[in-house]
């Protein structure tokens, strides 16, 4: 019966924190942010390696930390499994030994049997006797994971678990983790700076910056609908622009340079409000050269092509819109569309921006994530 992890932390220093998140049983939540954002601190606080000034950490009914009551359980007394970024395997113990030692007070034979089961679970069966220095990075990571699971933890914490391995191994480990979590029913909190990884693995994403949790939602929602320009920059949103809401008759439009774009109206941004806005690169539709444009296409934007970046099967095309000088619009197209339309730098291009995909945000807050 898996329980929900609830975390609320606050402190002024030495590392400022103002974080709030929760992870339900069976859910995998990615905590995402740039280096130094405080993600590892949040993880350490949950594990009991750091005691914040204020806050509360509880898993189901068990309260592990409560600043108000002065309660802070030692890591040994919290049912957590933590995979360190550097794995932190015990160098003087074998793979089996590393896992068995985490199994608490049980007879040695029983611990070893269960440890062997865990090794099989992470596809390392047969490597019991190897020492950490004799294992590859990917193998070490799996041992670290198995060790974290040895305690039957109620919460699994992973600190950038795939950062230290090569691309191919990373993909493999990510697939294994996805397969593994179906078997585990515990809340899993994964810390990463890799947006793509978070998007692939997580049910939900939490964006953290300078110790503050800024947005919490499904990856698709966070990436498509960032709550502020800061989050947009943190999530590497390519198309981030400024504009102003204008009234056009009975409707509201978005003024962007010389263009008036149709948008899905939002009551919190009345006419006259300066706004920031984003649109996903894939939500722009190319006007084909060989077919004449149809006048009803929404939000037409004309410009000239800056670059064509080929990324395997897709390509990113940057456009300098004539009506919004200085801005660079990036659209994503499949490679064969790029070829078929002979898109090349310097060529004129026309695209339509899907009105419902234009996401508005307030301009307040720092725009630079530094």
């Amino acid at each position: 019966m898996a329980e929900t992890l609830e975390v609320a932390l606050r402190q002024r220093g030495p590392i400022p924190l103002d974080a709030r998140l929760s992870v339900a049983g069976g859910e995998l939540v990615a905590l995402v942010g740039p280096s130094g954002a405080g993600k590892t601190s949040v993880l350490r606080a949950i594990a009991g390696l750091l005691a914040p000034e204020e806050g509360r950490i509880a898993c189901g009914g068990a309260v592990w930390f409560d600043g108000a009551r002065g309660l802070a359980l030692a890591p040994q007394r919290r049912a957590v499994g933590l995979v360190f970024q550097s794995y932190a395997l015990f160098p003087h113990l074998t793979a089996l030994g590393n896992i068995a030692i985490a199994m608490g007070a049980r007879p040695a034979a029983e611990r070893e049997d269960r440890a062997r089961l865990l090794l099989d679970l992470v596809h390392l069966g047969g490597l019991d006797g190897r020492y950490p220095r004799e294992l590859s990075g990917g193998q070490q990571q799996r041992v670290a994971l198995a060790r974290a699971l040895a305690r039957d933890p109620k919460v699994l914490l992973l600190d950038e678990p795939f950062a230290a391995v090569d691309q191919v191994t990373r993909r493999k480990l990510q697939r294994e983790l996805t397969a593994l979590r179906r078997k585990l029913a515990v809340p899993i909190l994964l810390v990463t700076h890799d947006l793509e990884e978070a998007a692939i693995l997580a049910d939900r994403m939490v964006i953290i910056h300078r110790g503050r949790t800024l947005q919490d939602g499904r990856p698709r929602d966070v990436l498509r609908r960032p709550v502020s320009p800061l989050v947009a920059r943190l999530t590497d949103q390519r198309n981030l622009f400024e504009g102003r809401i204008e009234a056009a008759g009975s409707e509201t439009r978005l003024r962007w340079g010389g263009l008036l774009l149709e948008i899905a109206p939002r009551p919190e941004f009345p006419a006259g409000t300066p706004v920031a806005w984003t649109i996903a690169p894939s939500d722009a539709i190319l006007h084909s050269r060989h077919r004449p444009s149809q006048g009803e296409r929404e939000n037409p934007v004309e410009g000239s092509i800056g670059e064509v970046l080929r990324l395997g099967e897709t390509a990113l095309v940057t456009i300098a819109p004539h009506a919004a000088p200085g801005a660079i619009l990036t659209i994503a197209l499949s490679e064969h569309v790029v070829d078929r339309n002979a898109l090349a730098p310097g060529e004129p291009i026309k695209v339509s921006l899907v009105a419902s995909a234009i996401h508005l945000m307030g301009r307040d807050g720092p725009a630079e994530p530094d």
Binding site: A47, L49, P75, S86, A88, H92, A102, M103, Y131
Partner: protein, 224 residues
């Protein structure tokens, strides 16, 4: 003619000093490795003092504390019925102080060399602080600890100034091999001095060899 008594005294002094300093070295070395506190630099400097002090200075101050007229010496005599200075017990006491840096520093380095994350991994794997210390830290630090023991042992064998001032070179009681060598040289007995010197040289050589063997990294040896 080999002065076996003097050699035995030297070995006993070295053994007692090493045995008593190891627990102290582990407690102090570990505390210094893991903690950060305001007076830490001061304490580390104090611990290092016997390394830089001339042995006679150390002997002078120790005698001022341990002599029969001094408060500590008097207290000891009252408690145990015999004085501290000019006895083997006094030598052990002086040797303990003179060897503190040789015990604490290597052990401190050994514990410092253990990455903090390893200890944290032990705690988050459910090990109590005591189990983490016994099953994770000690096995990883044992080389440094053993190195400290050998260093203390070897250094004590060579102690001269402090031993002479505190002990008074009494045969069978405080005249260690190092003192005996000096004594035999003064008595024009070069043969006896040579025999004792050769014995100490051999022991020192063995000690250095052991120290170097301990220093070899884990990687180079296959562990069963």
């Amino acid at each position: 003619m080999m002065d076996w008594t003097a050699l035995r005294l030297s070995l006993e002094l070295a053994a007692w000093t090493a045995a008593l300093l190891v627990p102290l070295g582990i407690v102090a070395g570990r505390a210094l490795a893991h903690r950060r506190f305001a007076a830490k630099s001061l304490i580390e400097a104090l611990i290092a003092m016997p390394l830089v002090l001339p042995p006679t200075v150390l002997g002078f101050y120790l005698l001022a504390v341990m002599g029969r007229e001094a408060p500590f010496g008097r207290a000891f005599e009252a408690a145990f019925g015999q004085p501290l200075a000019f006895t083997f017990a006094g030598l052990v006491a002086a040797s303990l102080i003179a060897n503190i840096p040789f015990a604490v520093q290597p052990i401190q380095r050994a514990f410092e060399a253990i990455e903090p994350e390893i200890r944290e991994a032990a705690w988050t794997s459910g090990l109590s602080p005591l189990r983490a210390f016994l099953e994770i830290e000690l096995p990883l630090a044992w080389r440094g600890i053993a190195g400290g023991v050998v260093l203390v042992f070897a250094h004590t064998l060579g102690e001269f100034g402090v031993v002479l001032m505190i002990g008074g070179a009494i045969p069978g009681e405080t005249r260690t091999a190092a003192i005996a060598i000096y004594d035999r040289v003064q008595a024009f007995d070069d043969a006896a001095a040579g025999a004792l010197s050769a014995a100490l040289l051999a022991i020192a050589f063995i000690a250095t060899a052991v120290l170097f063997a301990l220093g070899r990294p884990l990687r180079e040896r296959r562990r069963g």
